[in-house]
């Protein structure tokens, strides 16, 4: 590989900005200076689809209307654990307007119990059993209510701790391989180890396994904090529910999907139905939120496809709100035992973590890597167990595992600071080796005015104020299988194509910014056509990988296309293309200021209708921590929370959050703020409101709606100030990373720490509610 050397900006402007020399592939574009010196990157650029979205012009999956389209509804189990003796569809079949009924049959998948029946075993309320396609959604619903399922009910268990008992009803009596990505400590156990409903543990992640010697670490400690923290099950509740419209035509399968991963859905559907990838097309133009739960075709994808196949017509199948809550994913709960040892001077000597959580019938209820990597500590071990219960499967949920883990760890660190008689922020200065979080703490503390913080519980009056802080880290992941095509058309138009989808985070806009910056054009000169598997494969929107994965090849492809175009201009001007540049829509020459040609004119020099360049994500400059795309560095954040707590009614209000974040080179300040606002709001929601309430007697979720499943509305949303720290690492041609998940990790811990500071009693469990506050204050007899 031919390379060249370049000097890159390196470090944090205003703190330690310097230069670093990197050897980079010869074909990659020249170094971008820091954002100050760029025109479009790092600025507040309006979303290119904002007007379409606010005017309702944007069409989401559920808006799809195709000629002859049928509406489908899923049949779901009403009981938590049963064998199905029979299903009677005779009445439903004869209902006018019903076109097809499809029942899921027992295919004896690996990891499923032996069951000689015709239908799979029922393991939770809401499990899909079949579907109906009809002329209207109302008819489909009526048909579902006419289907009679004859269950042979079995004992079941819903509650996490009850399921851990040795004599609990067994959810699966075989190892299970159904790997939901609910928690993820990297190297997740396979579900075969363990006893009863308890499976695991996972003890390692892609950052390695246990370190040092716990016992020795605790022996060296002068002070020990030993606590158990609990978090609840949180469902995703995206405004747009899960679903698809599938049009299985003779020549190909067309899938309109509300998805975070068009490519994964395409591959899944191709594999399930034995079709070549080239004959399945998945499209997602606009997405109404997914938060991690929309990476796969689910059971609704194949269901719609089967119904479309049976009827020869397009089939619309979107979940309703109840289905969304009970069956389409959730953040598993957790009981986390943490033991932390430190010397008198604060040095951490040991961290021990043991967690149990339930992702219902799925695995992946770990608590992430926060305790392992946030603070360097020589002695560390974690055991993260999955507990199977008769409830809907978990799914990745914005920073899976780590949000739960941060809630525990960041409170324990606060407790340690208190025992050491140290300010919690100063204590983190001592034990946290991250340069970027140091700056975030400094700048954040100033903006938040941290110095006004009073000792815990010292406020006078009924309503007590409290201030708290929480920190987080998130890895820099990159999906190497990320490709993008940049086309310059001979009418001056520029187009970007990739299967990567914009799930509402603003991916379309940053791609346009990158290309506009590179081509010396304006953002609205660029057309972004993404979210379609007919285009080069882009990354899934998970792990906050999109920006870091797709913007470097986008810039590289634009650069290659530009180089090709400038060669044509150079030929005409009889000069060398390396002297030419494009600025403000004009091609110019560094040597001769009189040479000028509008970009549009230049494109007319093309021999073909377009110049088209496809680029793929190259390795990071300087390589990866792990060759599959774990980059060096992290995405650090520090969040500050101010709360007031009414000690008589238990009412808690978050008054203010200062969220200090870094994500490498920021690309669009407005969109970053939006992401951080969203993350903070979801964090507050997790800390104070959301809670899946299951009736353990019947196995039903009692608040599967948007009324009693509480999320914050306008008055619950505090003043949020974001503080974005630019950090240059010289790792790619854009040096940019995502922010989606980092924005959500520290909030609940910061709020809980603030509540402690307000009332002087620590709540080790979320959600924090009037009830839990009044109990903590010993006011409930």
């Amino acid at each position: 590989m031919d390379t060249r050397k370049e000097k890159f900006p390196y470090g944090i402007p205003g703190h330690n900005l310097s230069e670093i020399e990197r050897e980079i592939p010869i074909e990659e574009p020249p170094v971008w200076p820091i954002n100050d010196k760029l025109k479009i990157i790092g600025k507040r650029v309006n979303r290119i689809d904002a007007v379409d979205k606010v005017t309702g012009k944007a069409k989401y999956t559920s808006d799809m209307k195709l000629p002859g389209m049928l509406y489908a509804k899923m049949l779901r189990s009403k009981v938590p654990h049963a064998a199905i003796k029979s299903i009677d569809i005779s009445e439903a079949k004869s209902l006018a307007g019903v076109h097809a009924i499809y029942l899921i049959e027992n295919t004896q998948k690996e990891g499923e119990e032996k069951n000689n029946g015709k239908f799979p075993m029922v393991k939770y309320v809401g499990q899909p059993l079949g579907g109906v396609a009809a002329d209207s959604l109302e008819i489909a619903k009526d048909a579902i209510s006419l289907i009679k399922v004859n269950y042979e009910e079995k004992p079941f268990v819903i509650d996490l701790e009850a399921a851990m008992e040795m004599d609990a009803p067994i959810v699966f009596d075989v190892p299970i391989t159904r790997q939901a990505d609910g928690g993820d400590v990297g190297e997740v156990h396979d579900g075969s180890k363990g006893q009863g409903n308890v499976r695991g543990p996972s003890t390692s992640s892609f950052f390695g396994g246990p370190r040092g010697d716990l016992e020795q670490g605790f022996n060296e400690a002068d002070i020990i904090v030993e606590k158990t923290y609990r978090t609840q099950v949180q469902t995703h509740m995206p405004l747009e529910t899960h679903g698809v419209v599938v049009d299985w035509r003779p020549d190909m399968m067309m899938v309109y999907a509300s998805t975070q991963n068009t490519n994964a859905v395409r591959n899944e559907m191709a594999s399930i139905f034995g079709l070549p990838k080239s004959k399945v097309r998945v499209v997602c133009d606009f997405m109404g939120g997914g938060f991690g739960a929309k990476h796969s075709a689910g059971s609704f994808g194949p269901m719609a496809a089967n119904l479309s196949k049976k009827t020869g017509r397009p089939v619309w199948l979107m979940m309703d709100r109840q289905e969304e809550h009970i069956a389409e994913g959730n953040r598993p709960n957790s009981i986390q035992y943490l033991k932390i040892g430190a010397k008198k001077n604060g040095t951490l000597t040991a961290i021990q973590q043991r967690s149990h959580g339930t992702a219902g019938v799925g695995l992946g209820a770990g608590v992430g890597r926060i305790a392992q990597v946030l603070y360097p500590c020589p002695n560390f071990a974690t055991e993260q167990y999955d507990v199977l219960t008769n409830a809907g499967p978990g799914a990745a949920w914005r920073a899976p595992g780590n949000v739960q883990g941060a809630f525990g760890l960041e409170q324990a660190i606060d407790e340690m600071a208190e025992k050491l008689n140290m300010d919690p922020l100063k204590y983190r200065d001592l034990i946290d080796k991250s340069e970027v979080r140091k700056i975030e703490r400094q700048r954040g503390a100033k903006l938040f005015n941290w110095s006004r913080r009073q000792p815990a519980g010292s406020g006078k009056g009924l309503v007590k104020k409290g201030l708290g802080v929480g920190q987080s880290t998130w890895p820099r992941f990159v999906t190497l299988d990320s490709s993008v095509e940049v086309k310059i058309h001979n009418d001056g138009g520029v187009e970007i194509r990739s299967s990567v989808q914009d799930i509402g985070t603003g991916t379309k806009t940053i791609l346009a910014q990158v290309v506009a910056e590179e081509l010396g054009l304006q953002v609205n000169d660029i057309t972004v056509n993404i979210g379609d598997t007919f285009f080069p494969v882009g990354p899934g929107s998970g792990g906050s990988v999109v920006t870091g994965s797709i913007t470097p090849p986008t810039r590289n492809a634009a650069f290659e296309a530009k180089t090709a175009l400038l060669k044509l201009v150079a030929k005409k001007w009889e000069t060398d293309s390396s002297e030419l540049f494009i600025e403000n829509g004009q091609v110019g020459s560094k040597k001769d200021a009189n040479l000028k040609m509008p970009f549009k004119e230049a494109t007319k020099l093309m021999r073909t209708s377009q110049i088209s360049k496809i680029a793929s994500r190259s390795d990071d400059y300087g390589g990866f921590q792990q060759p599959w795309g774990l980059a060096y560095g992290d995405l650090g954040s520090v969040q500050f929370a101010e709360v007031s707590v009414n000690t008589d009614t238990g009412f808690v209000k978050v008054d203010k959050i200062v969220a200090a974040h870094s994500c490498g080179r920021p690309l669009n300040i407005g969109q970053l703020e939006s992401q951080i606002n969203g993350g903070v709001i979801q964090g507050i929601s997790y800390a104070l409101y959301e809670n899946r309430i299951m009736d353990t007697g019947t196995g039903h979720m009692m608040n599967a709606n948007v009324d009693q499943y509480k999320v914050p509305y306008s008055m619950e949303i505090p003043e949020i100030e974001t503080l974005i720290v630019e950090e240059y690492s010289a790792l790619s041609s854009t040096d940019a990373y995502g922010i989606g998940e980092p924005a959500n990790i520290a909030t609940a811990a910061a709020v809980a720490n603030a509540v402690y500071n307000a009332i002087g009693v620590r709540l080790h469990e979320i959600p924090i509610t009037p009830s839990s506050i009044l109990k903590a204050l010993n006011k409930v007899s």
């Binding site: 009403k78 619903k141 238990g650 104070l688 309430i693 019947t698 039903h700 009037p770």
Partner: protein, 338 residues
């Protein structure tokens, strides 16, 4: 959703001709050939959408002329037609000037969108809130089932439920507006199909679960609410209302209280104190009223009244927090009078 026919009632008589069931009766009996009233439709359609009732006919009483008037007279008091929306009440200056607690209750009820749709008649005749009662998958006593899921000491999810008079049913009446109406000694005017008119004190309009598990009001099928009337408050009457929620934007009451006190200087001549979200129907706290009577309005007495109110509380497994919460808002509301 089952199909139903729609009947546009043109007069009270017309509506009463058509109707054959209350929503409560239908819910208990599941005849599937009910003709029921719909005013704003917020509550009645919830039951229909959940598949808990399948009425054959919906009688729209929303457009019956004459039921949408608010009038106030310094001597006779306030009359509110049953079709007046909560939003109209919220912006009515007579209510604001003379019945502060009612004004406050309205402004804290539901959401602005719901207040635009909801009528006062529908609000006081809506069914109770309990997630088991409102779930098609749980046949509880109130739906002619054989158990109370919420009360179950181990599995009952009863964090939001009743702490007082909760022996037969632990659900809550959702009309937080009734808390204030009852405190102002409001009456409900009801007309029946024979054209007879009766005026029932709110205290007697609501029916405890022990009396009849199938309903929360005395309303019969062939009856319609036409007005809610409130006596004129004396010159020295003051009032205050507090609704405690977990979430301010909109939320169901965790506990609410309306206090109407006739004062004489700093002293409480007589008190009317009603609690919402405490019992299956709005609950008049005679204990708190007695504790305040002839007492001066101060911290000690307000606390004593709150304690007295809660002396009858029998919390369930998960709602013990409501007791201190009520004590707090009752005493605070009393202290706001002065």
């Amino acid at each position: 959703m089952n199909k139903f026919s729609w009947y546009e009632a043109t007069s009270i008589e017309d509506a009463l001709q058509q109707v054959n069931k209350t929503v409560s009766e239908e819910l208990y009996q599941s005849t599937n050939n009910a003709a029921v009233f719909k005013s704003g439709g917020i509550d009645v359609f919830d039951w229909v959408k959940e598949g808990l009732i399948n009425p054959q006919k919906i009688i729209n009483i929303r457009n019956i002329p004459g039921l949408d008037v608010i009038s106030y007279d310094a001597k006779d008091g306030l009359r509110i037609g049953s079709n007046v929306t909560l939003a109209e009440m919220a912006s009515n200056s007579d209510i604001k000037n003379h019945y502060l607690a009612l004004h406050q209750a309205i402004n804290h009820a539901a959401t602005p969108q719901l207040r635009n749709m909801s009528t006062l008649g529908g609000n006081i005749a809506q069914r109770n809130r309990c997630w088991y009662f409102r779930s098609a998958d749980h046949q509880c006593f109130r739906k002619s089932g054989d158990r109370c899921f919420a009360r179950h000491s181990e599995t009952g999810e009863n964090e939001n439920h009743a702490i007082i008079d909760n022996g037969s049913c632990v659900s809550l009446h959702a009309s937080s507006i009734s808390t204030a109406l009852m405190a102002f000694n409001a009456s409900v005017v009801i007309v029946n199909s024979k054209g007879e008119k009766k005026k029932v004190l709110m205290d007697d309009f609501f029916v405890s679960a022990g009396q009849d598990i199938a309903m929360e009001t005395i309303l019969q099928a062939k009856e319609i609410i036409t007005e809610i009337v409130l006596p004129a408050p004396s010159k020295n009457t003051k009032s205050y209302y507090i609704k405690q929620v977990a979430r301010e934007s909109y939320d169901w009451s965790l506990g609410d209280v309306a206090v109407v006190i006739e004062t004489s200087g700093d002293t409480c001549k007589s008190a009317s104190i009603v609690l919402g979200a405490a019992a299956p129907v709005p609950y008049r706290s005679v204990q708190a009223q007695q504790a305040m009577e002839k007492k001066s309005i101060n911290n000690t007495n307000a606390m004593a009244a709150a304690e007295a109110a809660m002396s009858v509380a029998r919390p369930l497994s998960k709602n013990g927090y409501k007791v201190p919460l009520f004590k707090s808002i009752i005493s605070e509301a009393i202290l706001k009078i002065t």
